[in-house]
């Protein structure tokens, strides 16, 4: 039933030699998502470069510099569809200097695939990728223990990796971690079940991705509606129409619900929930709709409509886990623009509580300078209150970005604690 097919976004972090490109190539190829002319183009380039066979890494690299240097620099998005689901892969580089790209790819993902080389077990990079998945609250983590063909498909090697992984991941906040022994190169347990590992009773990777329960990844409890813009057609039949346009960021809104508009605190009830295709009785995340209210109250972009009995925090002082994204380091006590849902205010970083050494995961408290790729816990003060939930409760209403007013560049991404 195509009509019920869901969309799953997942991220893969890794470098060329841990088999990430091969894995993606394998998923795309075995699900028949690579077209003949694309394959031909890669074959030609492989030949030109003198590679033996087809270098699938070329398929996942796009920009001129990446092709020349043979590395992934930026996030690239790949698409494939099976009869069960549509998939979006955020393909990100794995090296520490591209932490910000990993964070970007992880921000919208339902699932993260973490590749571990069966020969080497858990290494620094594994820890880093797992930490980012946990920090960005990716609901599902799939640890693929790759290159099983190089360890004779040994169950022992597989168990050893699981043991190592569980040792350091006990403090992570991921609810759903799975382990799959694979060989991306030979195709074991990627799309098809491996015949070389009868001791593994679980599902292959693709089947796992097709059946992950993702409906509850979005908060369906706390109703949140950030207003993007106001629709006032003032045309025939709609003279007095005032529709608040937005995308439901959490929970379910129903016709007749008692609502409060924040930050003003005005209350009303929902008169209609409109779409181009007609009125709907209820709207849930992530639907884009227009809401009309029974009362004529002042609502504009940046406001949030919530159910009166379930409100977010209205706060000017926030504790945030911040990832610094820009070459220009943070200026102490400098002001930035802060964007939170449709709200745009000014903010100041008041204090760096600690930084995290992303390789050892230890806290650093004696260094408060923020450079590119740094991850830290900070205190932020905003000029006007924001309507926030903790990131753990809601990835949309719990996330912010900072923009440098001098350059207009996005310099940091933050998750509200």
């Amino acid at each position: 039933m195509l009509d019920n097919n869901q969309l799953l976004r997942f991220t893969t972090a890794g470098s060329v030699d841990d088999g990430k490109s091969t894995l993606i190539g394998r998923l795309l190829y075995d699900s028949k998502s690579i077209f003949e002319d694309q394959l031909e183009a890669i074959e030609n380039t492989s030949k030109k470069k003198g590679h033996d066979g087809v270098d699938l890494a070329l398929f996942t690299d796009g920009l001129r510099d990446e092709r020349e240097q043979g590395i992934t620099i930026d996030v690239a998005y790949r698409y494939f569809t099976t009869p069960k689901r549509k998939f979006i892969i955020a393909d990100t580089p794995g090296h520490i200097q591209y932490t910000r790209n990993m964070v970007t790819g992880a921000s919208t993902a339902n699932a993260a695939i973490i590749l571990v080389d069966a020969r080497h077990g858990v290494i620094e990079q594994t820890r880093r990728h797992s930490f980012i998945a946990s920090l960005l609250q990716i609901p599902h983590v799939i640890v693929c223990i790759n290159k099983m063909d190089l360890v004779d498909y040994s169950e022992e090697a597989y168990n050893k990796v699981i043991e190592q992984f569980e040792e350091f991941s006990s403090k992570m906040l991921v609810k759903d971690i799975r382990f799959i022994p694979i060989s991306a190169l030979k195709g074991d347990n990627v799309v098809n079940r491996s015949e070389n590992m009868n001791w593994y009773q679980g599902a292959p990777l693709l089947h796992t991705l097709e059946t992950l329960h993702i409906s509850s990844d979005i908060n369906k409890v706390d109703a949140r509606f950030p207003v993007q813009t106001v629709l006032r057609p003032q045309s025939e039949g709609f003279i007095d129409y005032r529709g608040y346009a937005g995308r439901v960021a959490g929970g379910v809104f129903r016709k007749g619900d008692q609502i409060t508009v924040l930050p003003s605190g005005f209350t009303s009830s929902i008169k209609t929930i409109d779409t181009f295709d007609g009125e709907v009785e209820e709207a849930f995340a992530p639907m884009s709709v227009a809401i009309t209210l029974e009362d004529d109250i002042d609502v504009s972009r940046g406001d949030m409509i919530v159910r009166s009995n379930n409100k977010p925090n209205t706060a000017q002082d926030l504790e945030v886990m911040l990832c610094w994204l820009h070459d220009n380091s943070a200026k102490p006590r400098a002001k930035y623009s802060i964007q939170h849902t449709s709200n745009d205010q000014k903010a100041m970083i008041k204090e760096v509580i600690y930084k995290i050494d992303i390789n050892t995961l230890e806290r650093i408290t004696d260094d408060s300078e923020l450079h590119m790729n740094d991850i830290c816990k900070v205190k932020i003060r905003t000029t006007k209150p924001l309507m926030i939930d903790s990131y753990r409760e809601n990835r949309t209403t719990g996330s912010i970005i900072l923009v440098d007013d001098n350059t207009n560049e996005t310099v940091a991404a933050g998750m509200v604690i």
């Binding site: 698409y79 549509k86 910000r100 369906k220 884009s288 996005t410």
Partner: protein, 301 residues
């Protein structure tokens, strides 16, 4: 019990509507780049949905190379009338007449690259701060790295290595005067998604997408339509074939495929079995491995 999740087409639709509303909220003077192709028709349809019951609150802009399919121009004029929105036309012919650009010479000369100047001129003279396009990340390797909100400097150039990171659904459209943005609401759609959605919504598209009899010649592995601009080579011969087009660009460079698919249902079925990408029939992309990246850096769509 009601289900509280969206199917993938509804989720893509909702995402695109969200992006279009962000554009409207963050920019003063946006336009939809309208080529008459299915992707820009889709974006226009989604804009209709995003602002209903209001009209689409911004104009459509067409970069007219002068090398059009007549059907495309007719379709454009009809949709403008239907929607009651303004049309802005940037004319490549005018750019040539004014000496801003010169026609390409040689065997495979096209006006494809000439559009860049006309597009940037039209953006500047109409003080446009955001041009909404129908580009999709699955189309081409350089497009796979595009943001939803993509910054262009005051020369209209794209700097792929210094793109603003785009996290969650928070879009930063801040810019200086003279700079502009390109916005891509259907970034995450594939060709198949577009067709499935067009079929589901029964969206009107130009007749060129449906199989029809047409005079064509065989060139660069596809059926190039006969037109007043076509220069025949000795070995080439005009024949009549039943063809349709998977993408629409200039009549001089858009290759058709032989097909009997004359309904949306048949097109969807045909596309799902295709083993070539849709841009495989576009000679503008075949010039080099990084043809798209190079043009995009200069300011191409």
């Amino acid at each position: 019990m009601s289900k509280y999740y969206l199917n993938y087409l509804d989720e893509l639709e909702s995402e695109a509507i969200f992006v279009l509303r962000e554009v409207w909220a963050q920019f003063d003077n946006p336009v939809i780049l309208f080529s008459g192709g299915k992707d820009s028709i889709l974006v226009t349809h989604l804009a209709k949905k995003a602002f209903y019951p209001s009209k689409i609150p911004f104009p459509l802009m067409h970069v007219d190379t002068g090398h059009n399919f007549p059907e495309t121009i007719q379709f454009r004029d009809d949709i403008i009338k239907q929607l009651g929105v303004q049309l802005i036309v940037g004319s490549v012919q005018e750019s040539i007449d004014e000496g801003r650009v010169a026609e390409e010479r040689g065997k495979n000369a096209t006006r494809n690259a000439l559009q860049i100047t006309t597009l940037l001129d039209a953006i500047e003279s109409n003080k446009i701060d955001c041009a909404i396009g129908g580009g999709r990340r699955d189309e081409e390797k350089a497009r796979a790295k595009e943001r939803f909100f993509s910054h262009r400097d005051d020369f209209g150039q794209w700097d792929p290595k210094n793109q603003r990171p785009e996290l969650w659904n928070i879009f930063n459209g801040k810019h200086y005067e003279g700079e502009h943005f390109r916005a891509f609401p259907i970034s995450n759609w594939t060709e198949m998604d577009v067709w499935n959605y067009i079929k589901r919504e029964n969206i009107e598209i130009p007749s060129l997408y449906f199989a029809h009899e047409r005079e064509v010649i065989w060139r660069q592995n596809s059926w190039i339509p006969n037109s007043e601009f076509l220069v025949l080579e000795d070995s080439e011969e005009i024949v009549t074939k039943k063809v349709r087009f998977r993408t629409l660009g200039d009549i001089t460079i858009t290759g058709g495929i032989e097909s009997d698919a004359d309904t949306l249902a048949k097109i969807v079925e045909e596309v799902s079995g295709m083993r070539q990408t849709e841009r495989g029939n576009r000679s503008d992309d075949k010039r080099s491995e990084t043809a798209m990246e190079d043009r995009k850096k200069q300011g191409y769509f």
